[in-house]
């Protein structure tokens, strides 16, 4: 990654671990990495650079430290210096600044982009009654799913309603940005333009393009969710915009808990360790909105009162030792869950 991008991951007020940032970018995420990703307000970057090499990342951090932009607070933990802040804002002025950054973490955007582009192409060709075309090649299962959706959704009004919804959204963008984004969509006798062909600033790099595209798709999804408009595009997004962060196994665990099963019962039924079940629950708590996780099932009033008494000050400074009573690993689970709960209650930590 371009060196200056690294700076945007650090903060002047919060010391951040470079190991966590690297793990997030690669999406080699343990529950601990994801927890700190939540604390840093950077869950959105999870899996951003799956090919990133450790040496490359460490080198970039070391270079900025030597240059005086980062100061080491403790081994592996850094804060932006005043000079680092200046460098960071210099960088931010010329590079794309996401407008929906915190919402990125809600959706699997790459997947949604693929199915949206194919569906849009299929509808475009259908509008011209053309059956002989090269469909965009995406994952076969997704191609099949789009085809299936199209079979179900086909109706005389489909094209018009789809286009109307798109138009209503595009109107909310700056005209130039709408022109740029729609130019990337393939359709009937339209190849679609790549990001470097739509007149974005010429100094943008691959990460800027990626961030811009991500922002466009997320803004569409957010708009659909908030305007609550009826229409085929809404149905399509509900069907295809998959939430991020949770494996299907973690989802199953969560449903079982919500249905009243105990952790040991789930563990027995599914042949998983209780530790794994706890990890599923923590991951779910980290990724889901506050209201979507049954905190009250675990954080009883008595437990909360106990934590409240002993855990004060910045959440980043809390230590498990302050609350630990026995060797029971369930205690750590409750401690971490409380940290997640309090983080979410206070609003996600500001990424700045």
């Amino acid at each position: 990654m371009a060196d200056a991008h690294v700076l945007t991951l650090f903060s002047a007020t919060q010391a951040r671990r470079s190991r966590v940032l690297y793990g997030l970018l690669r999406k080699q995420a343990t529950v601990s990495t994801e927890y700190w990703g939540l604390r840093y307000g950077l869950l959105s970057i999870a899996g951003f650079l799956p090919q990133l090499k450790k040496e490359q990342f460490d080198q970039a951090v070391a270079t900025w430290q030597q240059a005086g932009a980062l100061s080491m607070v403790s081994p592996g933990q850094y804060r932006l210096t005043t000079m680092g802040q200046a460098k960071r804002s210099e960088f931010e002025q010329v590079h794309y600044q996401p407008r929906f950054f915190s919402a990125w973490q809600k959706y699997q955007v790459g997947h949604f982009r693929d199915v949206f582009l194919l569906a849009n192409q299929v509808l475009s060709e259908w509008a011209y009654h053309n059956r002989h075309y090269y469909p965009l090649q995406i994952q076969p299962a997704d191609m099949f799913a789009v085809k299936h959706w199209f079979m179900q959704a086909k109706s005389p009004q489909l094209i018009q309603e789809w286009a109307d919804q798109l138009a209503a959204f595009l109107k909310t963008l700056a005209p130039k940005e709408a022109d740029q984004w729609i130019a990337t969509w393939p359709g009937h006798q339209i190849a679609g333009l790549n990001d470097d062909q739509v007149q974005l600033p010429s100094h943008y790099d691959e990460l800027d393009y990626w961030a811009w595209q991500t922002d466009m798709y997320v803004s569409l999804l957010v708009w659909l969710a908030t305007t609550k408009q009826q229409g085929p595009l809404t149905d399509f997004a509900q069907h295809f915009a998959q939430p991020r962060g949770l494996s299907s196994s973690a989802r199953q665990t969560l449903s079982a808990v919500e249905a009243g099963w105990s952790l040991s019962a789930i563990s027995q039924k599914r042949g998983l360790k209780v530790g794994t079940i706890r990890e599923h629950l923590l991951t779910a708590a980290i990724w889901l909105p506050l209201a979507d996780f049954p905190y009250a099932l675990f954080l009883t009033e008595r437990i909360r009162a106990y934590f409240q008494q002993r855990l004060v000050g910045s959440i980043d400074e809390w230590t498990f030792a302050r609350v630990r009573q026995t060797d029971d690993p369930h205690e750590f689970f409750l401690f971490r869950l409380y940290e997640i709960h309090e983080t979410k209650l206070g609003g996600d930590h500001d990424a700045g």
Partner: protein
């Protein structure tokens, strides 16, 4: 049942809307229908894929096509989709676990399955194929098994074993570039005693004008490239050895010439690749600045020129790449731009691909860390030392021999790019063939001797400026045919 001949023409008309075969297609199809193991060497653009596509409609069962490059696979799938065939899938590393499972469960429903050699080597995959009815096993770009390019895949070496594991289904090996020795090696690998039908067509493409130029340095080469792109009638392709240079040069050429020049390489995602291919097919792009990842499956008939800014790895690869030009039979041009020392880049790639004696030693004794060894070398060594059970001296001798073979192959191409005459004869000689047209026809060397007017390859238009974007409301109407 109607006679084979009549059925062939019927299927050709029904599914492909053609009334006649290109040379070789019918001969190969007849051999296949007669149940013979078949190897066909047809030049690029001769319609190799039509052969196995036809087999899919001539016989029941699944046609399995082993293909080395992902881009080629996707392109073939898209082409079959285009023809209205939906029972087709590509099984490769881009599939997620769940998608792969779904495909394997439905395997028998597909008429065509494109697969990478790595994927075919997986136990679960072989088992799934054993359960279904196989129509034909096709090995595309079969020369990959015995040649040794930078993209060499050890898994290709396992194909004879996999063929055995599948119960020896009927084989069709396809290649555009194999010497008589290579053809013999291929047949031996799968069963020397089988009843083989071999079809070999001349590698010559008489409508492609061959041209070489030697330049003193890279600055002169860049300038010459610029002049050519300004002057030549497109569409064209320029081949580079690195992604980075392809990208930089594309930007530079676009700025300088006003033509639409776009970089294409293996680092682009599938949507980006799709857009570029479609823009190129539609004529929106004048020139592609490509690495060798581009074009294995591209079927654009009117490509007018191919320029090699960097050397290919050997004569077969060179022919393969220039063979993208002039598939419509109209005059086309293949230019090689050479600066002394250009071969160093290729020599370096050979070194990167083939493990040295020290590396072999280190890998085998596991004394050192394996981490310092390049992935491609690790794959090779794992195959030979761990799986195939060769001894260390055997592997050393073998790689030593391979290295010098590849260097020899490279130097044959270097001789070609340095040559001022008998260009066609040199290329043909590599395949033990000679030109039907006689010698030294349609070729030239040196900038002064390239008569573009006579070839009809002078551009009529100068570069166009980037068009402005269409307003979104108009684009939306265009997309969905709205009033």
């Amino acid at each position: 049942m109607m006679p084979d001949d009549q059925r062939l023409y019927q299927v050709l008309a029904d599914h492909f809307q053609f009334s006649s075969f290109k040379p070789g297609q019918k001969e190969v199809l007849s051999a296949l229908l007669a149940g013979r193991q078949t190897l066909a060497m047809l030049p690029t653009g001769a319609g190799k894929s039509l052969i196995y596509q036809m087999m899919g409609y001539l016989r029941p069962g699944t046609v399995v096509i082993v293909t080395p490059l992902l881009s080629l696979m996707q392109d073939q799938v898209a082409r079959l989709n285009y023809m209205g065939e939906s029972a087709v899938v590509a099984l490769n590393s881009t599939l997620t676990g769940a998608a792969k499972q779904a495909v394997l469960q439905q395997l028998g429903h597909y008429k065509f399955v494109f697969i990478s050699p790595e994927m075919l080597g997986q136990k679960a995959v072989i088992e799934a194929f054993k359960r279904i009815r196989l129509n034909l096993l096709v090995i595309d770009e079969a020369h990959t098994m015995v040649s040794w390019g930078p993209d060499f895949r050890p898994d290709y070496l396992s194909l004879p074993t996999l063929h055995q594991a599948l119960g020896r289904p009927q084989l069709l090996m396809l290649t555009a570039t194999a010497t008589p020795t290579m053809i013999q090696e291929l047949k031996t690998a799968f069963g020397a005693t089988d009843d083989w039908y071999t079809y070999v067509q001349s590698v010559d493409r008489p409508n492609i004008h061959l041209h070489t130029e030697q330049l003193p340095d890279h600055k002169a080469k860049d300038q010459r490239l610029l002049t050519l792109v300004q002057t030549l009638r497109g569409p064209g392709i320029i081949y580079f050895s690195s992604r980075k240079l392809a990208t930089t040069m594309a930007n530079w050429l676009q700025t300088e010439t006003g033509r639409q020049v776009v970089a294409y390489h293996g680092g682009l995602d599938q949507v980006a690749r799709y857009r570029i291919q479609q823009q190129y097919m539609a004529g929106d792009i004048d020139v592609i600045a490509a690495t060798s990842a581009f074009g294995m499956g591209i079927d654009k008939a009117d490509i007018r020129y191919v320029i090699h800014y960097h050397l290919s790895s050997d004569i077969p690869s060179y022919l393969q790449e220039i063979g993208r030009a002039g598939r419509d039979g109209q005059p086309a041009l293949a230019v090689s731009l050479y600066v002394p020392g250009d071969e160093r880049l290729q020599l370096h790639l050979i070194d990167q691909g083939i493990p040295s004696s020290q590396t072999i030693e280190r890998f085998a004794t596991k004394q050192g860390e394996r981490t310092g060894i390049a992935d491609v070398q690790q794959r090779l060594l794992t195959y030979y030392l761990d799986l195939a059970g060769y001894s260390i001296p055997q592997v050393k001798a073998f790689f030593g021999q391979r290295r010098s073979q590849r260097q020899t192959d490279l130097y044959q191409l270097v001789q070609y790019v340095q040559a001022n005459e008998h260009l066609r004869a040199q290329l043909m000689h590599y395949f033990n063939q000679s030109s039907a047209e006689g010698v030294d026809v349609n070729e030239s060397s040196g900038a002064a001797n390239l008569k573009l007017e006579a070839l009809g390859l002078v551009a009529k238009q100068t570069g166009r400026h980037k068009s402005t974007l269409t307003p979104w409301s108009d684009q939306l109407k265009k997309l969905f045919k709205l009033a």
